[in-house]
């Protein structure tokens, strides 16, 4: 009995505080029922955008539409959005039930219908029977669930979340990520999820919008963003990236004196332009002596140090070109047997499909 989910469309949205442009001409379309994460460093404009969607911050320019409805200058209480705040913003002077049922009075739902709705919402977040508890008696995880129940009890068409899991410890956070995502899919509610945790965004989202300096720098599915970053900023923001400076000569990328094989055709760089090879630690493999597969770029060097991290082993390698790269190897018996030791010469392979070349 959820409301029909609606698409969100933002066009040309801008907001300036004094001389600081918090948001510069942002346009974005979110599909009905889609889970979109907005990712970015602090000050990138992601929270400003969320506050504008909620109606707490007015736009200087641009428009916001929920479905066919123009909401750019609509008051927050008329927008019909569920919102989960970073610190939950629960009402400490009310019980769990009163918190969850807060919105129902404004929708003329009372008595048994209201208690039924509250019970249903609490059941969805696995807090059945918690109606009478006081907020102060709850753990962080339980508060998070109450905040979520409060935001969905009135079947809003849109759910906005502002770093809702950032206050939880790692284990609970990972559990909640799965639970939140399942709940969102079950309700089919259009969701915008602001976070600065790239792992969270990667594992939960249909699409991710990465923001920087008040603009959306790239938008795409998690794998598009991770495997095909459009800029050095994205490459460095998403996952661990090592950027090696390379030379570009007549459309070829050269690391040292080797030409790199890339997935696309010739590079579209001018001859004097700086470019970087982006290497992620898990994309590198140690090649057996003599092995040199066709699709691989081979980087030669010497192991500088090796670090055991439990689930993986990290090898720091000094390449013959003078660059340093780190590679990550799964920690299993097979890998351990052939593991090079510090001081050993190694040949590292990087698949051409994993070879990301980006301009400065």
């Amino acid at each position: 009995m959820a409301n029909e989910s609606v698409p969100i469309s933002i066009s040309g949205l801008a907001k300036t505080y004094g001389s600081f442009a918090a948001l510069k001409d942002v346009s974005l379309a979110v599909g009905a029922g889609e889970f979109l994460s907005v990712l970015g460093p602090s000050g990138s404009g992601k929270t400003t955008m969320l506050m504008m969607l909620a109606g707490f911050v007015g736009a200087d320019r641009g428009s916001i539409r929920f479905g066919g409805r123009e909401v750019t200058s609509l008051a927050p209480h008329k927008r019909d959005i569920g919102m989960v705040f970073q610190n939950y913003a629960l009402f400490p002077h009310m019980t769990v039930g009163e918190n969850v049922g807060f919105s129902l009075r404004y929708r003329r739902i009372s008595g048994e219908t209201a208690s039924g709705r509250i019970a249903d919402a609490l059941k969805m977040v696995h807090l059945s029977g918690f109606e009478g508890r006081s907020i102060n008696q709850l753990s962080g995880g339980q508060r998070q669930r109450v905040a979520l129940a409060r935001a969905i009890v009135f079947n809003p068409a849109i759910l906005l979340m502002d770093e809702p899991l950032s206050a939880l410890d790692k284990k609970l956070r990972e559990e909640m990520q799965i639970e939140l995502r399942q709940l969102q899919q079950r309700l089919g509610i259009t969701t915008i999820y602001v976070t600065h945790d790239q792992r969270e965004a990667l594992s939960m989202s249909d699409r991710i919008a990465v923001m920087n300096h008040g603009a959306i720098e790239q938008i795409g599915t998690p794998s598009e963003i991770y495997d095909n970053p459009k800029s050095l900023f994205i490459a460095q923001f998403m996952g661990e990236s090592q950027c090696l400076r390379i030379r570009t000569v007549e459309g070829d990328a050269l690391l040292g004196d080797r030409t790199l094989r890339t997935r696309g055709g010739p590079l579209k760089f001018g001859p004097s332009e700086h470019a970087f090879l982006v290497v992620r630690p898990e994309k590198l493999v140690v090649l057996k002596p003599g092995e040199s597969p066709d699709e691989m770029n081979v980087l030669e060097g010497r192991i500088a140090s090796s670090l055991f991290q439990g689930e993986s082993i990290v090898l720091n390698t000094e390449l013959d070109t003078g660059d340093t790269v780190t590679l990550r190897i799964a920690s299993n018996q097979l890998a351990r047997c052939s593991l090079p030791r510090p001081g050993d010469r190694v040949r590292l392979g990087l698949h051409s499909h994993d070879t990301i070349i980006l301009p400065d």
């Binding site: 707490f56 919102m83 705040f85 610190n87 629960l90 400490p92 919105s103």
Partner: protein, 265 residues
């Protein structure tokens, strides 16, 4: 609570000063209360014989009782006017820019900074023009000006620890800004609002300087009536009334302490 530190002999003079301060603070009360129970016709300390005749004299004087009624009415109306204004001002200062808030703060605290006599004279001249001298509404407004800084500061302290995202949450759930304030914010700063009311009541009840100028005639307040009584004829009734005032204030202070404790819990 930290356990009491042992007396430090190096701080002998500090203890002496502290003892002197406490002594001089309590001294007037220690004199006034016994004098009020004296049997003598004059202010005499220590009294030779004790009686409650001056309390009876107060109770049987329509003049004194009218002044009491005026004082209580003024104090009550001042609370009714000051508390909503002070709460609104304190709230406003949290939602304007920091610069505007600093400016407002200074303006609101002006009555505390300017000497009472200057405020009194200023109000007196304005009231003559508007024919407000000796009117109930005039006294209430003047006391509101005087008490407002205290109300603002009390509520401001409570709002400092309030998380305004709760109001945003309430609005996202369907409450108007007004509704969010009344259902979410106000219940959580309730204790501070109540204690600001008690504070304002005490301030109005004890106020002398402005009342001397603008609270005469029909609407003579108790403090002014006492001042006049002391000037004309020294009468222990004043001591009896003072004792009653001290008692009332003490009661209000206890109530204040109780609400403060409730606020913390």
């Amino acid at each position: 609570m930290a356990s009491a530190a042992p007396l430090n002999p190096n701080r002998f003079w500090l203890y002496c000063v502290a003892a002197a301060v406490i002594f001089f603070l309590i001294l007037p009360i220690a004199v006034v209360v016994p004098v009020s129970f004296s049997d003598s016709k004059y202010l005499q300390f220590p009294p030779e014989a004790y009686s409650t005749r001056w309390y009876e004299s107060y109770w049987n004087s329509s003049d004194w009782l009218r002044a009491t009624r005026v004082s209580l009415t003024v104090a009550f109306c001042t609370v009714l006017l000051t508390v909503p204004l002070g709460t609104a001002a304190a709230y406003a200062m949290t939602s304007v820019s920091p610069r505007a808030a600093r400016f407002l703060q200074i303006v609101l605290l002006l009555p505390m900074i300017v000497p009472g006599m200057l405020v009194a004279i200023g109000i007196f001249y304005i009231y003559i023009r508007f024919k407000l001298v000796n009117s109930l509404i005039g006294i209430v407004v003047a006391h509101t000006v005087l008490a407002l800084p205290f109300a603002v500061m009390t509520v401001q302290a409570a709002l400092q620890s309030f998380d305004f995202r709760q109001e945003q949450a309430a609005m996202s759930l369907g409450a108007t800004r007004f509704g969010a304030f009344f259902r979410v914010t106000l219940p959580q700063i309730k204790a501070a609002v109540i204690s600001s009311g008690l504070f304002v009541f005490i301030i109005s009840l004890d106020e002398v300087v402005i009342s001397l100028f603008i609270a005469g005639g029909e609407n003579t307040v108790l403090t002014r009536r006492m001042f006049v009584a002391l000037r004309d004829a020294v009468d222990p009734t004043v001591a009896a009334i003072s004792t009653l005032l001290i008692g009332t204030t003490l009661l209000l202070l206890v109530a204040l302490a109780v609400t403060r404790r409730g606020q913390r819990g």
